[in-house]
């Protein structure tokens, strides 16, 4: 399953370690929320970057105390039709100021890339190789956005206001 | 006429066919005995047991490109082998609307 970062397929330095399995010495790992919360300090003390997979049916509040020390938060789309992770992503980015890697996992398909980017995801475990290849092209699909999110894109309303101002500013 | 979309178990109560809609244009189609689809009910393969139904349905569902929403529908088989739709829903799918659409003068 290819990882896409910065618009292209990238090497994933993180290893998803299943519950119960030993953690590698100092490599970058992603563990489950349950494992993390058992002993967060111990995991965070490890040398090697730490990521947590957070289930989509759980408030992100319990993760908030650790945001600054996590390298990756992986959110889950059990099916692409289950949109809870979009809310979680926006809350992490916009409410809690998380600026580490925010990774989309689960059934991650081409036709949701734009939504995911706008919600704050910046890494994608893409289900299909062909979708991963098409990532850069796909995100160019839309140039107009009606509503503000934390992605910084100027909304249509604001662009109109800007146009108006520059018109009235005159030569 | 309970929507067959709600079929959970495969239960055959009489002669049945597998029917679906053609992906590219939505037309009603019936699964034949030759691993293909036909728009004519008369070409449909008749299944009479749950095992036959399961097999034909599985084969139909596997053709995800060509057909969508395959399910098992009842039919009546008349003397002489003519196949007729087995309920009002299938009658409508096979014959079309039951209403007169002409714009009143």
């Amino acid at each position: 399953m290819p990882l896409v970062k910065h618009g292209r397929i990238a090497t994933d330095i993180f290893v998803h370690v299943p519950d119960g399995a030993e953690l590698p010495g100092d490599g970058a790992v992603v563990v489950s929320a349950a494992r993390f919360l058992e002993d967060p300090e111990a995991l965070l003390k490890r040398s090697g970057k730490l990521g947590v997979t957070w289930p989509n049916n759980r408030d992100v509040d319990d993760l908030v105390p650790y945001l600054e020390r996590l390298a990756v938060i992986a959110l889950v789309f059990p099916t692409f039709r289950d949109g809870r992770a979009y809310s979680q992503a926006r809350l992490l980015r916009e409410r809690h100021g998380y600026d580490g890697e925010l990774r989309a996992t689960g059934q991650v398909l081409r036709d949701q890339f734009v939504f995911m980017l706008r919600a704050g995801f910046d890494a994608f475990e893409v289900k299909k190789e062909s979708d991963a290849d098409a990532f850069a092209e796909t995100v160019k699909r839309y140039s107009v956005f009606y509503q503000p999110t934390g992605d910084g894109r100027v909304t249509a309303l604001n662009r109109r206001m800007q146009l108006r101002h520059s018109e009235s500013a005159g030569p | 006429m309970t929507s067959p979309l709600e079929q959970k178990k495969i239960k055959i109560t009489g002669p049945s066919v597998v029917t679906a809609n053609r992906t590219w244009d939505g037309a009603v189609i019936y699964r034949t005995a030759q691993q293909s689809w036909s728009a004519e009910l008369s070409d449909a393969a008749i299944i009479r047991t749950s095992d036959e139904a399961r097999a034909l349905l599985a084969e139909s569902v596997a053709d995800d490109v060509g057909a969508i929403g395959a399910y098992i529908a009842p039919v009546e088989v008349k003397d002489g082998g003519k196949i007729k739709p087995g309920n009002l829903r299938e009658h409508i799918r096979s014959q079309g609307l039951t209403i007169d659409l002409s714009v009143p003068a």
């Binding site: 408030d59 809310s87 409410r95 036709d111 919600a119 009606y146 509503q147 | 939505g26 659409l101 009143p104």
Partner: protein, 551 residues
């Protein structure tokens, strides 16, 4: 009418390109149906019994004549020459081919029409009052806010995969023609003590298997806060709405299970964090949207023109005028309802020829504007009274001047088993038979306002729960049966109807309705007492007795 600018058009075109690519990948097999289905639903494409059905958005029920002609073109070029107007102010085409849909969408995009989010588990058409902007006594044109909401909810990245569909409706009049109480979010526009615009916000209304009347979650939300407040509601719903059972996934279930106080508290907590955000609408932004709504250059016209005085001698014209013509906020003008319920016809349908003719009449007599009502009729919202006689003749010629608006033959019906794969029973032939039984317009006039709503299944697209008489198709042993309810209302006094007794078979439905109407005529305390008020006064029992005495 809202004028789409380059940004709005660009978005629509980008959407068409995306869908074209998605259809291509579907037909090549790159996308499975499981992956594609939600994508096509989000472009209004259903699979029905015989074919795909294509639901096109008519935002808050407003169309230009150019747009109506484009709909006629789609009906001719890609369908079978007709379309069906729905209970959510949209239009549906029933015979569309998936492979041709991107072209149909491209043709519609040229006139600013799209099908974004007319289905799918996302927010749907923001509906309003078909008399918005012209109704006397309206506080403010609710379409401005419908447009603000339409833009905000279109391709919202956080809310495109909700637990289930989500419907908004807005009213700005005392009499609620938008049925806000049976919507997921209903907004009642009002002014506070300082004359500032805001909304009473209701949540959790809806019909279907578990009907609920919406509950007030906040009595006044300032206009500037409406988007942040709606975002709070949607976010709570997105996170906590049930996803384990599609019959329990609407927000009405969440509101019911939490209780309105707890739900309101959750929303308030979220909203307090969102209040000061970029979603706050400042006045210049609201004005910007308002300025893109153009209103006609009304003439100064007399209250009673000569043309009208003369035409009053024609009893057929008078009957139509008294039935289908409604007061306008500007003197000398009228709102004209075009009945799409001809005797013997399928309710809410219009042919491509009719659409073209109506578009031409709109150009001549209504400043190029048409409205779609949730009762599945059309309206011409800006007709000078002096033009009524000549307009009537033209409307009559194309078959949209049946003088039955709001009467017993002005039936609201879903497509039912003739079209719809969800249906248990047919609805259109029931409606057609009823129009034949009550085809005498004078009799229908004597009966008075009586709304019959027919749904072919419990999904209630015909809004049968809130019909004065509601008819629900069910299946019993492979046969079509119908449950009858009476006393429902969809307006500001919204309530569900009451079942009168066991379901009756297809062949008896029209007889039963005749019995109910006869009972009403015998029981009403005066001619002006509406059917629904007689039911309120006397209850269901006298009607039940009459209907089931011999059954």
């Amino acid at each position: 009418m809202y004028a789409y600018d380059e940004l709005d058009r660009t978005l629509i075109n980008e959407r068409v390109s995306e869908f074209r690519d998605q259809v291509k990948r579907r037909l090549s097999g790159e996308l499975t149906e499981d992956e594609f289905k939600m994508l096509r639903l989000q472009n209004g494409v259903y699979l029905q019994l015989h074919a795909y059905m294509f639901r096109v958005a008519i935002p808050y029920g407003t169309l230009s004549s150019k747009q109506l002609r484009a709909l006629a073109h789609v009906a001719r070029r890609y369908d079978r020459g007709y379309g069906h107007f729905t209970t959510r102010q949209n239009i549906q085409f029933n015979w569309i081919k998936l492979a041709e849909l991107p072209d149909a969408l491209a043709d519609l995009a040229e006139v600013g029409i799209h099908a974004m989010q007319t289905s799918g588990n996302n927010t749907r058409n923001v509906t309003s009052d078909q008399w918005a902007g012209v109704a006397p006594g309206e506080i403010e044109d609710p379409r401005i806010w419908s447009e603000i909401l339409r833009q905000y909810t279109t391709l919202h990245p956080e809310f495109s995969f909700l637990p289930r569909k989500f419907k908004f409706a807005i009213t700005a009049s005392e009499h609620d023609r938008a049925a806000i109480k049976i919507h997921d979010i209903g907004l009642r526009l009002l002014k506070n003590a300082d004359g500032e615009t805001g909304f009473e916000v209701l949540v959790g209304g809806g019909l279907g298997r578990t009907p609920f009347i919406g509950k007030t979650i906040k009595p006044f939300v300032h206009g500037r806060d409406i988007l942040s407040y709606v975002e709070a509601i949607l976010r709570v719903y997105n996170q906590y709405g049930r996803r384990d059972n599609i019959y329990k996934a609407r927000i009405k279930i969440l509101v019911h299970e939490l209780g309105i106080e707890k739900f309101a508290k959750e929303v308030e907590e979220e909203w307090q964090q969102l209040r000061a955000s970029a979603l706050t609408l400042d006045d210049s932004v609201i004005e910007e949207i308002r300025s893109r709504f153009t209103y006609p250059a009304y003439e100064k016209l007399p209250h009673m023109p000569d043309e009208l005085k003369q035409a009053a001698h024609d009893p057929l014209f008078e009957r139509w005028r008294k039935n289908s013509v409604f007061p306008h906020k500007v003197q000398g003008y009228s709102i004209v309802t075009l009945s799409l319920k001809p005797v013997g016809g399928p309710p809410g349908d219009a042919t491509a020829d009719q659409m073209d003719a109506i578009a031409n009449l709109a150009d001549r007599y209504s400043f190029g504007e048409i409205r779609v009502g949730h009762e599945q009729n059309l309206a011409l919202p800006h007709v000078a009274k002096r033009d009524l006689p000549v307009l009537w003749k033209a409307l009559d010629k194309i078959g949209v001047a049946t003088p039955n608006v709001n009467l017993v033959t002005d039936i609201i019906a879903c497509p039912g088993l003739d079209y719809c794969s969800l249906a248990n029973a047919r609805s259109i032939p029931i409606a057609q038979e009823l129009t034949r039984r009550f085809s005498n317009h004078d009799t229908a006039g004597l009966i008075g306002r009586l709304h019959i709503n027919i749904s072919g299944c419990i999904n209630a697209c015909g809004h049968h729960h809130v019909g004065h008489i509601g008819i629900l198709g069910v299946e019993k042993n492979g046969e079509e049966f119908y449950q009858i309810t009476i006393g429902g209302r969809a307006d500001e006094n919204a309530q569900m109807g009451t079942l009168i007794g066991p379901a009756v078979p297809y062949a008896e439905v029209a007889d039963v309705i005749e019995d109910i109407v006869e009972a009403y005529l015998a029981l009403r305390d005066r001619p002006e007492e509406l059917f629904v008020d007689t039911v309120k006064r006397l209850g269901v029992e006298p009607f039940r007795e009459r209907v089931y005495a011999t059954r």
